[in-house]
């Protein structure tokens, strides 16, 4: 028995020794190859970076950008939350002031591209104050009216089934609904106030949730939209994967976001306007310079049109395409889950 124990001890030591050797061998080969192919400074930096990740690997030490500042991933979410908590009350006023009202055209373009039909279910993520949701409901209503008008113009009297479908309590065709999901309770509060003041009661629900971890089951929605929200998400790839998960097969993903301006002259004007005027507007109207400084910086840090298209394709979307609005100031990306 002592001999067996000794043997197993030896084997264990040999296994440990071997694994230790393998790790060292791999490390040495890696460093050796790197030393041959790169200069010393780059080599040291790369090695330091890769070894750091290997040592820690936690969210606290993975860094990301918060505007032009570098913060840890864990910090970014709470800082973004605070920004939107501060700006929620004046969010709509500031949108109108900063974009001179053009943001309404951008959101209308999103709805036209989306072209929802009665019965569609939309998930509007980061849709805090409800701009997209209200437009969706209006669009659906106008589509329904158009269908009714077309039916009447063709001389068709509505069948008993159509009439009973039109009754609110009756069953029949699934009602279109929009779920507004946002991580920030203040923004949702403002959205609900707007819904109350518009008198919108049905077809709308407000959910608190994180775009990286949506509180919905798989295959729930026909349409997923995220307007001017995805650049605030800490891990964009995670948000895209979640979008893919909650969409039904055949469902469409639509993203409206600030992007790279194509024309160089317009780009200079846009940069000057962004950095000189927008924080001042934020200070005067909303009393908050830093949140709007963060806004214009986060736009610069977001990937451009082609990169974002690549991210969408990596996440698993098909037929990804984008449309530039206002010369590239805003890009509308669309993809399908097949």
């Amino acid at each position: 028995m002592a001999a067996n124990v000794r043997c197993s001890n030896i084997n264990r030591r040999r296994r440990n020794f071997l694994s230790h050797c393998v790790i060292n061998m791999a490390a040495s080969v890696r460093t050796f190859v790197r030393s041959l192919s790169r200069k010393n400074a780059c080599f040291a930096a790369v090695l330091r970076q890769s070894d750091c990740r290997w040592f820690t690997g936690a969210a606290e030490d993975r860094s990301t950008h918060f505007g032009f500042e570098t913060v840890s991933e864990a910090e970014k979410a709470s800082k973004v939350y605070k920004v939107f908590e501060n700006v929620a009350q004046k969010y709509d006023v500031m949108n109108d002031a900063m974009s001179l009202g053009i943001h309404r055209l951008w959101k209308d373009a999103l709805l036209h591209v989306m072209h929802p039909q009665p019965g569609a279910r939309l998930l509007d993520v980061a849709g805090g104050t409800g701009d997209i949701a209200f437009r969706f409901l209006d669009y659906i209503r106008s589509q329904q009216e158009k269908q009714q008008r077309r039916a009447m113009s063709l001389g068709q009297t509505p069948s008993w089934r159509d009439i009973s479908d039109g009754y609110p309590a009756g069953g029949g065709a699934p009602e279109s609904a929009v779920v507004v999901c946002d991580i920030n309770k203040e923004m949702l509060k403002v959205g609900r106030q707007r819904a109350d003041s518009r008198g919108v009661t049905t077809g709308l629900s407000w959910v608190v949730g994180d775009a990286e971890e949506l509180p919905f089951n798989d295959d729930q929605f026909d349409l997923y939209s995220i307007a001017f929200g995805i650049r605030n998400v800490t891990r964009i790839d995670q948000a895209l994967k979640e979008a893919l998960r909650v969409l039904k097969p055949g469902g469409r993903f639509l993203c409206l976001e600030f992007s790279k301006v194509t024309n160089p002259v317009l780009e200079r004007l846009y940069d000057a306007y962004s950095f000189q005027v927008i924080p001042v507007l934020g200070e005067v109207i909303a009393g908050d310079w830093k949140s709007y400084q963060y806004l214009v910086e986060s736009i610069r840090k977001f990937p451009d049109q082609e990169e974002f298209k690549g991210l969408m394709e990596d996440a698993g979307f098909f037929c990804v395409q984008y449309f530039n609005l206002t010369g590239g100031v805003v890009a509308l990306h669309s993809g399908f889950k097949l």
Binding site: M25, S28, A44, R48, D51, D61, T70, V277, W289
Partner: protein, 274 residues
Amino acid sequence: MWLRYCPRFMIIRRQHIELSTSAQFVQQLNTSRRDRSHSYYDGVYHGHIQTTPFQKALLAVGSGVAALQDPYRHDMVAVLGETTGHLALVSLRDRMRNDPEGLTILTERPRIRLSTLDLKNMASLPDGSFGREYLRFLEDNSVTPDSRTQVRFVDDEELAYVMLRYREVHDLMHTLLGMPTNMLGEVVVKWFEAAQTGLPMCALGAVLGPLRLNARRLQSLFTSLGPWALRNGRRGRCVLSIFYERRWDQNLEDLRQELHIEPPPATLHPSRKT
């Protein structure tokens, strides 16, 4: 067994790399922590926001309009003062430097805040002393010395302190002049400050403030209080040069005489509404 065949120099190099990477890792962790505390937004002083002249001009216009539309937006009044007051602040700072007590203030940088005031001690001072009257003023008008906005748009650190001192000393002005915090009292103090400091924001407030007063108050402002405030502002000693924190037990009348300020012509009572 691979180690047996590994040349000696590679072992040494690997050990060196491991040591240096762990040292560099520790260094990187420390520097990144320091860098995080020194965020991008730190300018010349805590809370400073670097602005171009174009932005300052835009801020001045915007804050002026916002302050006129809603006079209760104290932050807009503050921003207007900071963006338009550079020349006045420079002349104020020079006046403080020429005064020995003012120079002490510029070097020691005292702050007037609830945490730095000893309220119990001040309450025990005799009536008529500066500290006791100041405390009475705070209680009667339900104000606190902590409500001043941070200075953000002044690019020089010393001038930013002068601006901050001016804001913190505003309540002491009320005590010195015997004016409550209602609209008439504020306008009178603004006239005094405009004459004293020359800040454009004070001048604007002095001109536009009376527009919100009723006829009776306007009359008292233009006949007695206003000229008194202007006269004393012009010939009085620079009020920012006084080290108030060391004069709590001084008699108020003595302090007024020292600053060449006449006693107020009429006693105004604090009221809840303007």
